[in-house]
Each structure stands twice: as structure tokens, then as C-alpha cells.
């Protein structure tokens, strides 16, 4: 990666699409977007008419191969930026951003795997970019996703994940629901723990490349458990969404 300046530019909101009761996807047309690596994020900057500004970071959920940049936004009730993005922003509006940012928590198909993805809630966003990239690149790398959500209705990208897994034997998806389960739910219904990872994850001998993204307690638990199971800490990459994402 050669040093280059990350300039602010204005993307146009092409479309917005609710994902779950608390999350929404923003699809942006960004002029001269030079592409990104799956897992990277952008900085978004809002400017009020009097010049007041607020910035936040959002993961890119779209694959590098997709034409539009998709950002997944979780509405935080006491947030300053996310309620604007989910409630006010609409197609045709401009959104100022710069990126892509972050060269560590990123995956390209040629890096291989196997790939172990562990997500909590909106932490799915950068991992979704990897899953979509896996498909777009025609990768045969085995991928396993363990996805923790509060309830069935709050499983972000649920239908797309189901259809991706149905059409691709290399992708295996396991859900766990931590607060409530629908009738006849036979899947996991607790927070992710070492036992669950032992059942779902590749074995340490298979040397998976692991990406873990979610709230801090989930990331701490998962990363510690993976190391405890014998996985190489160097192959466990983490990204955390604190309670303060705004």
C-alpha cells in the first residue's frame, strides 16, 4: 500500500434499506471510488448548516466487486450520528466520507483460509463484505460463520445469508440467539462460549484465519476462547464495536 492522502468526498445516497428493526443499509454512489478490501471501513462526516461537524466510522458491508458502497448502520437511541443516518438520510442526499481505511481486519480471496468468521449483531458488516467477496471471487476457501444475534428478527442479512449458504457448500452458517428464540428453534440459544466454538470452528490443526467482530465482551470471550482451544493468536484478528459508536 503506497501512502496516499485520504480526502473527503461526497457520495450520493442511491437507496436505503431497513435490515432489522434497529439496522439499515445505506447504498452509496461514490465518485472515483477506487475500491476497498473486504473488512475495511470509512469515516463519515456530518456537517450542520452552521458548520458544526460530527464524525464516525462505519464498516463497509459490500464486496469490493459490488458497484455501490453499502454501509450498515445500527441505530443507537442516544447516538448523535446513527439516528440521523437511519431516520433522516434518504435517496438523493449527499453523504461526506473518506476511506477505505484499515489494512489489518481485511481479507482477500487469494489469502485463502479456511476462514472462521464470528460476529455479534452489527459486527456482521465487515464479515458480510468477506462472505460476499468470497462468492464474487468464486473462492473455494471453506468459510464458517458463527453469528450471535439477540433474536430471530434481529438477525441482520438473514435471508441473504440463508440463500448464500444454500447455494454454496463451502459456506457453513451457525446462528445463536441470546435473548429469545422462535418456536421450534433447534439452534444455539446462548452467548458464544468455548464449547460452542469447539463445536463450530475449524480445528486448530486446520489453521483457520479468524475474524471476530462485535461488542467488546463478545470479542474478548471469543478471542480468549480461540487461543484457549489452541488457535494461533497471530491468526485471530479482532474488531470491536464499543457501546459508544454514536
Amino acid at each position: 500500500m503506497a501512502p496516499r492522502r485520504l480526502t473527503w468526498r461526497i457520495g450520493e445516497v442511491a437507496e436505503t434499506s431497513p435490515q432489522t428493526p434497529r439496522t439499515k443499509s445505506l447504498f452509496l454512489d461514490v465518485p472515483d471510488w477506487e475500491g476497498h478490501r473486504a473488512g475495511q471501513h470509512v469515516d463519515v462526516r456530518l456537517t450542520a448548516e452552521d458548520g458544526y461537524q460530527a464524525q464516525r466510522s462505519y464498516s463497509i458491508a459490500s464486496a469490493p466487486e459490488d458497484g455501490r458502497v453499502e454501509l450498515l448502520v445500527e441505530r443507537l437511541d442516544d447516538g448523535e450520528v446513527s439516528p440521523y443516518l437511519t431516520d433522516e438520510l434518504r435517496a438523493g442526499d449527499g453523504l461526506e466520507l473518506r476511506g477505505p481505511i484499515g489494512g489489518w481486519f481485511a481479507w482477500e480471496a487469494r489469502e485463502g483460509g479456511p476462514l472462521l468468521l464470528v460476529a455479534g449483531g452489527s459486527g456482521i458488516a465487515p464479515l458480510m463484505a468477506m462472505i460476499r467477496h468470497h462468492k464474487a471471487a468464486g473462492s473455494e476457501t471453506p468459510v464458517r460463520l458463527l453469528f450471535s444475534s439477540r433474536s430471530y428478527d434481529e438477525v441482520i442479512f438473514r435471508e441473504e445469508l440463508e440463500s448464500l449458504a444454500a447455494e454454496n457448500n463451502a459456506l457453513r452458517i451457525t446462528h445463536t440467539l441470546t435473548r429469545s428464540t422462535p418456536p421450534n428453534w433447534t439452534g444455539y440459544a446462548r452467548r458464544i462460549d468455548e464449547d460452542m466454538l469447539g463445536e463450530v470452528a475449524f480445528s486448530p490443526e486446520e489453521r483457520p484465519l479468524a475474524f471476530v467482530c462485535g461488542p467488546t465482551p463478545l470479542v474478548e470471550t471469543v478471542a480468549t476462547a480461540l487461543v484457549g482451544l489452541g488457535h494461533d493468536p497471530v491468526r485471530v484478528k479482532t474488531e470491536r464495536f464499543g457501546p459508544t459508536g454514536g
Binding site: 501512502p3 461526497i10 464524525q55 448523535e80 433522516e88 484499515g102 489494512g103 489489518w104 480468549t224 497471530v234
Partner: protein, 203 residues
């Protein structure tokens, strides 16, 4: 780019408190203490912990946890600023000043690479670590520093973005030529002054 642009319908939530002047551009205040790190939290037993000063020095120096703990500690209250945009005001730490750790160390080096458990590194000019501006902190808000926040000890350089305050620090390598560290090699600014909003390469 962006000159004259505003976000339709955005008003923002301004606080207008006396803390405003302490918040660098692009930052916002938090009350909690978010955790950020690139991988699993290392857990080195104190019996195996040491702090080493090496590189371009006349004689490398290594301290055990007991030796480190016996050095005079200072209480430090400072604002901290993370490149991911949160700032936290008035955090209180205890730690050993880098000035104290460098006593008796002869060097012509102008740069430092801090190295850590887990392989993390970060680079800084030596002058940013001396003169009462940096510490090896072992206590946060009166409690031993928790592992997820960098315990048993982390570098504390509050005048730079907080990734420079390397967690799980195990020593300093003094060097004549600046060597970009972990995040500095991955697109983040080499120096990281929050007041000049030096987040990324080219800022």
C-alpha cells in the same frame, strides 16, 4: 472537497460545556472506556514479565516486575483521544515516568519503537516520551490496569492518539532511524497529533 457542503437536516447534539475546548477536531466525548485491539488479549504472568530498554544504548537494561514496581510512581490525570473518534476527559493513572526509566541510559537515538506482548509495535520520537510527557502506567482509576486495557502495564502518551499508548508494553527499542510500527504501517499517521487531526497517512 466538501467546502460548502452540509448534511440536509443534520443539527447535531452540541453540549456547550466547559469541556468543549478540550475535545480535538472530529472527536466526541464518551463516559465509558471502549476497548480496541487487533487481536486476542495477551496474558503474561507477572513472574515472566520484564521491561527492557535496548537498541542504540550503551548497555541494555531489563527490569523485572518487582524492580519496575519499586520505582517511584506518579499520579497522572489527562484527557485521552482515540483515533476511532472517542475522547475521554480527566482519566487518572499511576505509572513510572519514562524519564525515570531512562535515567542512566546513554543514547544518541532520536526515535523509539515500543514493543509489546502479542507482537504489537508503535513508533515515536524520543522527545515525545521525555520531559514528563509519557509513562509506563500500571494503575487506572485506582485499580491495577485490566488486561483488556493493556495490563499489567501500558505505555501512556496522552498528547498523541491513543494507539501510541501501546498496551501490554514490554520495552522500548531506541533507534536512530524512525521505523513505522503496526498501525503506522497500515495506513495510520506516523505521528498522530489529535489537535492536528493526524489520523491517517497524508493528514
Amino acid at each position: 472537497m466538501g467546502r460548502g457542503f452540509f448534511s440536509r437536516g443534520f443539527r447535531g447534539r452540541r453540549r456547550h460545556t466547559e469541556g468543549d475546548a478540550r475535545i480535538p477536531p472530529g472527536q466526541y466525548l464518551v463516559d465509558g472506556f471502549p476497548v480496541l485491539s487487533a487481536g486476542p488479549t495477551p496474558r503474561t504472568p507477572l513472574s515472566e514479565w520484564s521491561f527492557t530498554i535496548r537498541g542504540e544504548v550503551d548497555e541494555p537494561k531489563s527490569l523485572s516486575w518487582e524492580e519496575f514496581s519499586a520505582l517511584p510512581s506518579e499520579e497522572i490525570t489527562r484527557d485521552i483521544h482515540c483515533v476511532t473518534k472517542w475522547s475521554k476527559l480527566g482519566t487518572t493513572w499511576e505509572g513510572v515516568s519514562i524519564d525515570t526509566l531512562l535515567e542512566g541510559v546513554d543514547t544518541a537515538a532520536e526515535y523509539v519503537v515500543a514493543f509489546c506482548d502479542g507482537g504489537y509495535t508503535t513508533n515515536l520520537p524520543l522527545e515525545d516520551l521525555t520531559g514528563g510527557r509519557a509513562w509506563i502506567a500500571h494503575t487506572y482509576e485506582g485499580e491495577p490496569l485490566a488486561p483488556e486495557h493493556g495490563g499489567p502495564a501500558r505505555l501512556l502518551v496522552p498528547h498523541l492518539y491513543f494507539w501510541k499508548s501501546a498496551k501490554w508494553v514490554r520495552g522500548l527499542k531506541l533507534v536512530g532511524v524512525d521505523e513505522p510500527g503496526f498501525w503506522e504501517s497500515l495506513g495510520y499517521h506516523n505521528y498522530g497529533d489529535p489537535w492536528r487531526e493526524q489520523r491517517y497517512w497524508g493528514d
